[in-house]
Amino acid sequence: MEFFKSTNIDFLGKKWYFLTFSLIFSVAGVLSMAFWHGVPLGVDFRGGTLVYVKYSHTPDVSAIHGDLDRAGLRNARVQAYDQAHNSNEVLIALDIQETSEQALDRGKTQIIQALESHAVPGKQDLNNASSLTIANYLLERDPLHLGTDAGPRYTAIAQSVVDDRDKAKGGVLGSLDELKSVVDPAVVASLGDNFFVSDFGIRNVEIVGPQVGQQLRKQAILATLYSLGGMLVYLALRFEWIYGVAAVLTVFHDTLITVGAFSLLNWEISLTVIAAILTLIGYSNNDTIVVFDRIRENIKLLRRDRLADIVNKSINQTLSRTILTAGLTFLTVLALFLFGGEVLRGFSLALVIGILIGTYSSIAIAAPILVAYQEWRGERGKKPIAMPLRSGNSPTPPKEKVKV
């Protein structure tokens, strides 16, 4: 089976279309970053408080807003997510102003108190109790009348209660009766004296102070810049410096469009999205080098041809591999986007955009930069750049001979 036998598409002839396409997307992204949504940084980089809450029923966002308002958290952002999968989850976010450096977790405590406004007086919430709290309570009550080894036994029972809640029931118990299959009924009855079951459980909390947010921002940018620098140096050594420059410009183009897309969609850029952007940089760069390698090889073989023709030929020769690899990687990433769940959503979106843009850019951006540079040199009356062929006339000799 073969999709592309031998294509002969004039890619460089279409460079103005490519340029227009890239410009539209980059400019739209830049405009959105400058005037519309800005760069929507997540709590990691901006600082603030994020609490993920899971309900046992479809959450009523306006009621939650009401509870938070009454507790004085007027600027809280409440967002129900993954409604398609009926996950009953809500994300509550507080700005950095409400995240004090003195008492970092005050915002979290306030949110929990606000949501527990319908609590049963004098009882604790089993859905938000830690195993230690439960174990201590059981130890005090001793519902099973255990003798000497009560401590470890009740610790184990408390752990199985918490495990059932968190692992089997996804974080929220519907009622105390659900525990009867897991622990002794006497324990359940005793728990009922002190605990009630609320309709929510806290799944995840992120609190980032302003100082750390700033550090992370600086560090993510620096690490990315250094690694681009490393890439540039390596390519300059292996090829010509212009190849390194072209590769880095291409990667920059990809990053700009991806970040722009996040700005346009107003999706938050978190630390995991940064990891995805780093992945796309690696991927796009990989694609670019494959084309460059072929150009280098062809320049050697076809010494008389114009660079534009050589580049076109090289892109066409590698086109079948480009499309196959892109298609397969895209398949993996698409699986992640579709089945990866809410936590991976931003991350896989960055990859989905990144694979598309990264593949496109190695053909539409990287190669034309090489040709444009060559033409510019030509106009200034200089000789076309000769390719340094470090391994002599033939590529690296194969390591071993084929035995037939």
Binding site: I274, G282, D293, T329
Partner: protein
């Protein structure tokens, strides 16, 4: 089969076994859950996948500097008194940004050389420089200041580690956090309710036993009035916790006049343990070290019938009258719960923090969320992998089998590496795995497309395979080395998620260079060795 080829196959199988051991070890139980336990025993999951608490805290190193300069002031005053050097005033003008700076005003010019020699002899960590109007600025030498701050961070790490160890958290991470100044990273797997742990870590647990010179007073003013408006120079007012028998006065403020000098401090403790006081209330019993006991004995024998205050973190916990000389043991009681008593005994045993700490970042991943992330991540990865494996078979026929074997072996080696190096698999690490799979597929596609191209140009299968590999090899090296170079840089300069990504990527690409090129080639050679000359290659 060719001998050379046999050896290569042996190498491949050997490597496969080595890395399989890296992933699984030798499971104790040969069942599904036993094998799963064996894997998680060797490949550690990050907090984002297994649930737990991640904290970044900052040591307020200026606290430690302040303590040091307070001591320096005390020594300076004493020495100036003994050397009869007069001065107008000693202050610390900038406690916020220069807590080490001491300004001494009004030293007579004729005594300035004496003053300088006192500083040089008695305060070797400090430098004195003269300023306007007979004033002197005494501040800590830069090197000593930096040492003091770093030591405070090291001590804080040590103390926090002691405390967390006693809490029984498994596999905690407590280390200096390189990203910021004087920061400590604490990761506590499986801890989903950080409130108690945070409190235990934060309590400085500074225990002092001092003489109580008066009190309780209902307010600071009352204390001042009692002493005629002026406090004795060697005493300070301290607030007390309303405690013990005065439970009825709950909420009312209490102030005590406490001597500045300590009889004993937390450093003189040998151990501390929960107990009950004579009323059956939870309390903490402490035992002093030999030297501490002697100090305490001489102090108490000289102060029989005086009052003694037990002070914890600058709050008076208890005041009692000394009935008899005490040697080496005592009881701290207050209105403690059983839990508080246990925690207090534990923090006292683990030693005092040299400085206060402040929390900068707190993340808690509930176990349910971590489990969800794993489930969906693994599901997505399996779907993606299966789609890729099946496609390769359809598109490249028998050669697709090569690619599939190479890909699976790549994952085995990647996970095996992680098992051997104790690397941690995180969500961003899964991104690294995806890029690895992508580049692994890419290497195979590059090679196969090249072989097809050579076959189209009329080459025989063996020479097409050879040409295909040798051309693709250059490209593969270039793509892999650039990516490894940038991933290494990310590993060095990155922390947390960025590092997790770089780790799997470096391991994965290194494995890929082996599997896509060497393993795939050996399989091709093996297939070719079994074919008749001129027989077509299934690709």
């Amino acid at each position: 089969m060719n001998k050379n080829l046999t050896w290569k196959l042996v190498v491949i199988v050997g490597i496969l076994l080595i890395f399989l051991f890296g992933i699984f070890g030798i499971p104790k139980v040969w069942s599904g859950s036993g094998i799963l336990a064996a894997i998680t025993d060797r490949i550690h999951l990050g907090l984002d996948l297994r649930g737990g608490t991640h904290l970044i805290l900052q040591v307020q190193v200026n606290d430690a500097v302040s303590v040091d300069s307070d001591n320096a002031i005390a020594r300076l005053k004493e020495d100036m008194r003994t050397h009869k050097i007069s001065y107008a005033d000693i202050t610390k003008p900038d406690t916020v940004s220069h807590p080490d700076m001491i300004v001494v005003k009004g030293v007579p010019p004729e005594q300035s050389s004496d003053f300088k020699s006192i500083v040089a002899d008695r305060l070797p960590d400090y430098d004195a420089s003269s300023g306007v109007e007979n004033s002197w600025t005494v501040s800590m030498k830069a090197q000593n200041l930096a040492d003091l701050k770093n030591r405070a961070v090291e001590q804080a790490i040590e103390t926090i580690r002691n405390r967390i160890d006693q809490l029984g958290v498994s596999e905690p991470v407590i280390q200096e956090h390189g990203l910021g100044q004087y920061q400590i990273l604490v990761q506590l797997p499986g801890v989903d309710d950080p409130a108690r742990v945070k409190e235990i870590m934060q309590s400085t647990a500074m225990l002092e036993i001092k003489q109580s010179l008066g009190g309780p007073y209902s307010s600071e003013q009352a204390a001042l009035q009692d002493k005629g408006g002026v406090l004795p120079p060697d005493a300070v007012l301290m607030q007390g916790k309303s405690i013990g028998s005065r439970r009825d006065q709950e909420g009312g403020e209490q102030w005590y006049l406490i001597s500045r000098a300590s009889a004993v401090t937390g450093r003189d403790l040998r151990t501390a343990e929960p107990t009950n006081d004579e009323n059956g209330q939870p309390a903490v019993r402490f035992i002093l070290t030999g030297e501490g006991g002697r100090k305490f004995y001489s102090f108490t024998s000289a102060h029989v019938a005086d009052s003694l205050a037990v002070i914890l973190d600058n709050k008076v916990q208890e005041v009692a009258v000394i009935k008899d000389a005490i040697r080496d043991t005592g009881i701290i009681n207050g209105r403690f719960t059983q839990q508080e008593v246990q925690d207090l005994a534990m923090t006292l045993r683990s030693g005092a923090l040299p400085a206060g700490i402040k929390y900068l970042e707190e993340r808690t991943v509930g176990p349910s969320l971590g489990a969800d992330s794993i489930r969906s991540g693994v599901r997505a990865a399996v779907f993606g992998m299966l789609a890729v494996l099946i496609f390769m078979l359809i598109y490249y026929h028998w050669a697709g089998v090569n690619a599939d074997i190479a890909l699976i072996l790549n994952l085995v080696i990647l996970l095996g590496f992680m098992g051997y190096f104790g690397a941690v698999l995180t969500l961003p690490g899964i991104a690294g795995v995806i890029l690895t799979v992508g580049m692994g597929v890419d290497s195979n596609v590059l090679i196969f497309e090249r072989i097809r191209e050579e076959l189209r140009n009329g080459k025989t299968p063996p020479s097409a395979v050879e040409q295909g590999f040798s051309h693709a090899w250059i490209t593969i090296v270039d793509t892999h080395v650039t990516t490894i170079v940038s991933a290494m840089i990310l590993f060095i300069f990155g922390t947390g998620p960025v590092k997790g990504f770089a780790t799997t990527l470096v391991f994965g690409l290194a494995a890929n260079l082996f599997t896509a090129v060497f393993v795939s080639r050996v399989i091709f050679d093996w297939v070719l060795s079994r074919k008749e000359r001129g027989e077509a290659l299934s690709i």
